[in-house]
């Protein structure tokens, strides 16, 4: 029996029972649409996380203090010790032993209430050096960044991110104005261009000041702490070499011979990206698996309806066998019918799932949240279609074989 004939028989059978066929297809349709949509949501989250992490600045390496050297036996936790110094930053910046590092900057964080006129806002204040815009990939939109002289002289100047500007100044020009951070006056000398990205780790909610000024006016007597060093490698491919070089410099400076006893930790953008990606991938898989359950339920629906169809058409099977249909012919016919049912359901499910994923960002409740827009991936579409046809095949085999094994005499006698 040729394929065309089998398809013709399948369609005429399905058209004869339109409601039943539609309901059976609906089972597969919902399953496939759910898989497409939920995997798209997972993909959307992955894309958003990647964008945000990428926006932190490419090729960036973070150096954090750690307390592996502590002898007390009690770990004090990540970042609690003060092992990094300005001298470490300078050593990395001499670039004699680390040709793959472009620049390194110290970071001293200070939380603070910021006020201007009667406006009031909270943003972390970052104390750093003049290479900050280069290392963290910030552009100056207005005014200028502070100079080496500002750092040397502990000038109380700040450069603001767009979010801070909007919240404190609205539409008026912030350049030259004086704001107060923890009741200390700072003069605004520049504004960063917006970096985009929202929610998690917004890059526009920043206040940047010379590290010496932060130490002198905002650290509250905690001394010249450096919470982290941020270095940038010359390119994405040299990040690993740059990490090795920085590790060597710091081990030498801290007089540590065993790298496992290091009192600092390195983390590159790539490390963070990898971690985030593995979490997002796990999320996508879990969502897909949950949706996959409904596909299996749809498959059982197909098996059920195919069993009914075989019983109903027992006489027809008998006639076909009497005029020469072999086991293989009957099997093929019913398998094609089951696969047609599930394949069509799958194709419609893909359309519905993709349409929902496309429309989701336009739904007001979703648009106003920071919910990532779903991204439909081509592999998930192909996989979902393949799986739906496969489900037809798998769940169709038992009913089809039952039909193909019917004895022609008994099948003909069936009323």
């Amino acid at each position: 029996m040729n394929l065309f004939e089998a398809l013709r028989v399948a369609t005429s059978g399905l058209l004869a029972n339109r409601l039943r066929s539609s309901l059976t297809m609906l089972g597969i349709l919902i399953g496939v649409a759910a898989v497409i949509l939920l995997v798209a949501v997972g993909n959307g989250a992955t894309v958003q996380i990647n964008n945000q992490i990428q926006a932190l600045g490419a090729n960036v390496i973070f150096v954090y203090p750690s307390n592996a050297k502590s002898t007390g036996g009690v770990s004090q936790g990540f970042g609690t010790s003060q092992t990094l110094t300005m001298a470490d930053v300078d050593a990395i910046n001499t670039r004699q032993q680390d040709p793959d590092v472009v620049a390194a900057i110290p970071i001293a964080q200070s939380g603070g209430q910021i006020t201007y006129s009667n406006q009031n806002y909270f943003a972390p204040t970052t104390g750093t050096s003049v290479d900050f815009p280069q290392v963290r990939d910030y552009q100056i939109a207005e005014g200028s960044f502070f100079t080496q002289d500002d750092v040397a002289s502990q000038h109380r100047v700040v450069v603001l991110g767009q979010t801070v500007v909007t919240n404190l100044f609205g539409t008026s020009d912030p350049i030259g104005q004086t704001i107060k951070i923890n009741r200390q006056s700072f003069r605004v000398i520049g504004v960063f261009a917006a970096k985009g990205g929202s929610g998690f780790g917004s890059q526009d909610n920043v206040v940047v000041a010379p590290i010496t000024a932060v130490w002198a006016y905002l650290s509250g007597g905690r001394g010249k702490n450096i919470s982290q060093i941020v270095a940038s490698a010359s390119s994405a491919s040299t990040v690993t070499q740059a990490e090795t070089e920085i590790t060597a410099i710091l081990l030498q400076r801290h007089q540590i011979s065993d790298p496992s006893q290091a009192d600092f930790q390195l983390q590159s953008q790539q490390d963070i990206l990898n971690q985030a990606n593995s979490i997002a991938t796990a999320l996508t898989l879990v969502l897909g698996a949950i949706a996959g359950i409904s596909l299996v339920v749809g498959g059982i629906g197909i098996m059920n309806i195919m069993l009914v169809t075989v019983t109903e058409r027992t006489r027809e099977i008998g006639i076909r066998k009497a005029i020469g249909a072999r086991w293989r012919d009957v099997l093929t016919q019913f398998l094609i019918e089951a696969m047609f049912l599930s394949g069509l359901g799958g194709a419609l499910g893909i359309a519905v799932g993709a349409a929902l994923a496309e429309e989701a960002p336009h739904i007001p409740a979703i648009a106003s949240s920071s919910f990532p827009p779903p991204v439909v991936s081509i592999p998930s579409v192909l996989l979902a279609f393949g799986v739906s046809v496969g489900i037809g095949l798998f769940f169709g085999i038992y009913p089809a074989n039952r039909a193909a094994r019917l004895h022609p005499i008994e099948a003909l006698r069936h009323e």
């Binding site: 040729n2 005429s12 008998g318 009497a322 005029i323 020469g324 003909l412």
Partner: protein
């Protein structure tokens, strides 16, 4: 054309063995028109199933057109039915929701034959139903449905035409028409026909009448016709 040697058929119904056929010897030559008669329970349906290769004998041998079919498996039997036997059933047994033309084409599809459409049309013409080719079974009268069924039986050019109570569901006018059609196919085209019936006036259209009772042949006579 057909040769049955000491064919028996025993069914097992639960614990009881039913001897449907108790030793049948039957010879049908090419071009003959044989009616097999008998009351219900006489074994004529069992005999038809065996002649039609829908079933195999318990013992004995059956040669159809020179092939020993007693030992064939299901798929081989299906191929034999497709190539050598044309069935005409009491209840027509056309496939629903399928045009007369497509019904007639069906055996050719299973045979993997070429030129199916023209051959199917030709067969419909031979039974005088070419003008109803595009109609579905529900749109045809009983007589027309049976003609379509005869066209389907003829389309593969089989060795024998096996008609099981072909007039059982028809009124007397249609019955006569169908029997005249079968007689003509036999007389003018030399078709070998085996007819199963319990009606004597229907059997009278055949050239030879074989009467069965309790699984054995009671009489085997040439008719005047």
């Amino acid at each position: 054309m057909i040769r049955l040697d000491a064919v028996t058929k025993t069914y097992r119904m639960g614990r009881v063995e039913v001897h449907a056929l108790r030793g049948i010897d039957l010879h049908v030559e090419a071009g003959d028109f044989v009616a097999i008669m008998g009351a219900s329970g006489s074994g004529k349906s069992t005999l038809m199933n065996i002649i039609g290769c829908l079933d195999v004998p318990t013992t004995g041998r059956y040669f159809l057109d020179g092939t020993d079919v007693a030992k064939l498996d299901d798929d081989q039997l299906a191929t034999i039915r497709n190539r050598k036997i044309g069935f005409v059933f009491q209840s027509f047994n056309l496939i629903p929701r399928t045009t007369a033309l497509h019904n007639v084409e069906m055996p050719l599809i299973y045979a993997g034959a070429q030129n199916r459409r023209p051959r199917a049309l030709e067969a419909l013409e031979a039974v005088g139903l070419a003008n109803r080719a595009g109609h579905q079974p529900t749109e045809l009268s009983g007589g027309q449905q049976q003609r379509a069924a005869i066209a389907r039986a003829l389309v593969t050019n089989p060795a024998i035409l096996l008609a099981d109570e072909p007039t059982g569901n028809l009124d007397s006018v249609s019955s006569v028409e169908i029997m005249k059609l079968l007689s003509a196919l036999n007389a003018e085209h030399g078709r070998t026909i085996v007819l199963i019936t319990h009606e004597r006036d229907i059997a009278a259209f055949a050239r030879r009448v074989v009467e069965l009772r309790d699984g054995v042949i009671l009489s085997d006579e040439r008719t005047a016709a």
